[in-house]
Amino acid sequence: MPRITMREAISQALWEEMERDPKVFILGEEVGVWGGTYAVTKGFYDHFGEKRVKDTPIAEAAIIGAAIGAAMTGQRPVAELMTINFAFSAMDHIVNEAAKLHYMFAGQFVLPMVIRAVGGGGRQLGATHSQTPDAVFAHFPGLKVVSPGTPEDAKGLLKAAIRSDDPVLFIEHATMYQVRGEVPDGDFVIPIGKSKVQRPGKDVTIVTYSKGLEISLKAAEVLAKEGIEVEIVDLRSLRPLDMEPVIESFKKTNRAVIVEEGWKSYGVGSEVAARIYEQAFDYVDAPVKRVAQKEVPLPYNRTLEQLALPQIADVIQAVKEVL
């Protein structure tokens, strides 16, 4: 299997879906002539033309609103938000329109749309441009929230998102575009809403996704040298949330650490921990630990920024604490 980057995987998924289905089109800030600020849509404008690769004004409510409207007419728009931090400018359209129109109008409106958004910290972009608010969006029924941690998942899940008739928020991590991984050739789709064991183990269950997967895999390598075998379950989708592989793993290890980049309070870890206690209380041998971002607005200074973000060492320490 070829080893390609996360960027290439996402780009391939978009390209292939646009070739497959003329209803698919892209809109967003600098997606066209510029080629995408993270270069994901480089070459698209020249190949697919202005009609299908639409540069928009810097107006997020218009971008998401127009995507919703176009989806209602049967198109399959993929709207790009340059960063997920700009989603707040389109918050109403994401959580109050996209997430609700199908339900509120008793199924009359169908919204086959994807919002691609770049999230995460670690690039010294300061507090307003570095957030990981994934859990905020996962709070809303009606929206699907997907965030891949490997190139293979990125490609397969983005294809599934584009083919889905429901609105999907697809969150890519800003520091992971160069991550390489094996991706099968040709067309494949990974169903949304299935967690996956990314590394088997027997001692502790790590539940994570996106950037958390990257640091958890590295922590696992270190721990393995000390004879500790962690099992890593990648959620891949925050809504719907597939707890089955998590619970299955936990019943084996009886210990869990949840790793996420967002803030701890009211976060993904809070939800997963609560569900572990609800669904597998009899199997708990140690309190579930959460590794997350320090509860501060992310600072610009590199040292301070890294101090706030969850690190490999934090994961290792948490694993040892639950053992």
Partner: protein, 319 residues
């Protein structure tokens, strides 16, 4: 214009007036919950506006949507049933007063967040443009919506992309209880369209024929591929913003003056009779028919079943 068109518009206006009167009573009896925004006084706007549309033209509006629903061809039965939250309502009791729709009638809702549906309207028009349809999206909103960012983002985008959308501001002089002058930098809302280089017109919304003429002209312009058009239609709501509005922000005399001297139905009635288009008897018969239709709609709604408990879990996702 054919006589039948004149009479159909008259009939729709009296149906809306009677539907809203009945809804107000049902609200006071506690049979309608939530908010209830009545269209009484503004009937000529959406009736005149929608009358010349073609089947491929989409309509999308704000939360004061019962009248618009009727003009789009929804039955009084399903509108009234929705107000009562019944399973037979146009959105099966899920949407209520502010969220009516019928895709088959090209009515794309009832949207309750002020201004938020303008970018959606741009998207509907984008879909038509993408598909090469000659349909026009008619997007209605109140004067209050023109002060929020969504308005500016949506209207700007429509001009930049030359979208087939007809923007229609129903200026009823108050955003809830705040006068246009106290909330908007310009009191002539059409000036905002001017700022975006969009051709525009200000129309007397109490004169249904003036509204219809302006709408037909604007639809032709947009349909020809010339880009968006903007109508500001001056109107007045005879009732409060919603039920339970104490109306401290305006004088009873002001309301009375509009009701007595500028009632769009009375105005149109006089026009039809004075010009020999219809007799007073014919119009009275239409009004009686409307009264019967609404009485039947109330019976239908009251005797309709509640949504089943399972409906709670339907339509969150498509699959």
């Amino acid at each position: 214009m054919e006589k039948s068109v004149y009479l159909e518009m008259f009939y729709q206006m009296v149906v809306i007036r009677r539907l809203e009167d009945a809804a107000a009573q049902l609200y006071q009896q506690g049979k309608i919950g939530g908010f209830l925004h009545l269209y009484i006084g503004q009937e000529a706007v959406s009736t005149g506006l929608i009358s010349p549309r073609k089947p491929q033209d989409r309509v999308i509006t704000a939360y004061r949507d019962h009248g618009v629903a009727i003009n789009c061809g929804l039955s009084s039965n399903e509108v009234m049933a929705e107000l009562l939250g019944k399973a037979t309502g146009c959105t099966k009791g899920k949407g209520g007063s502010m969220h009516m729709a019928d895709v088959k009638k090209n009515f794309w809702g009832g949207h309750a967040i002020v201004g938020a549906h303008l970018p959606l309207a741009a998207g509907l028009a984008l879909g038509d443009q993408y598909q090469g349809s000659d349909g026009v999206t008619i997007c209605m909103f109140g004067d209050g919506a023109t002060n929020i960012g969504y308005f500016h983002e949506g209207v700007n985008l429509s001009k930049v992309w030359k979208l087939p959308v007809l923007w229609v501001c129903e200026n009823n002089l108050y955003g809830m209880g705040t006068t246009v002058e106290r909330a908007s930098a310009v009191s002539e809302i059409r000036q905002k369209a001017e700022g975006y280089g969009i051709p525009n017109e200000r129309v007397d919304g109490m004169d249904i024929l003036a509204v219809r003429r302006a709408s037909a002209k604007a639809l032709d312009y947009v349909r020809a591929g010339s880009g968006p058009y903007f109508l500001e239609i001056i109107t007045y709501r005879f009732r409060g913003h919603s039920m339970g509005d104490p109306e401290r922000y305006r004088q009873a005399e002001e309301v009375k003056c509009w009701q007595e001297e500028n009632d769009p139905i009375g105005f149109y009635h006089k026009h039809l009779v004075d010009n020999g288009i219809a007799s007073a008897d014919e119009l009275a018969a239409l009004d009686r028919k409307a009264a019967q239709e609404i009485a039947e709609a109330v019976r239908f709604a009251e005797s309709s079943p509640e949504p089943a408990p399972e409906a709670l879990w339907e339509h969150i996702y498509t699959e």
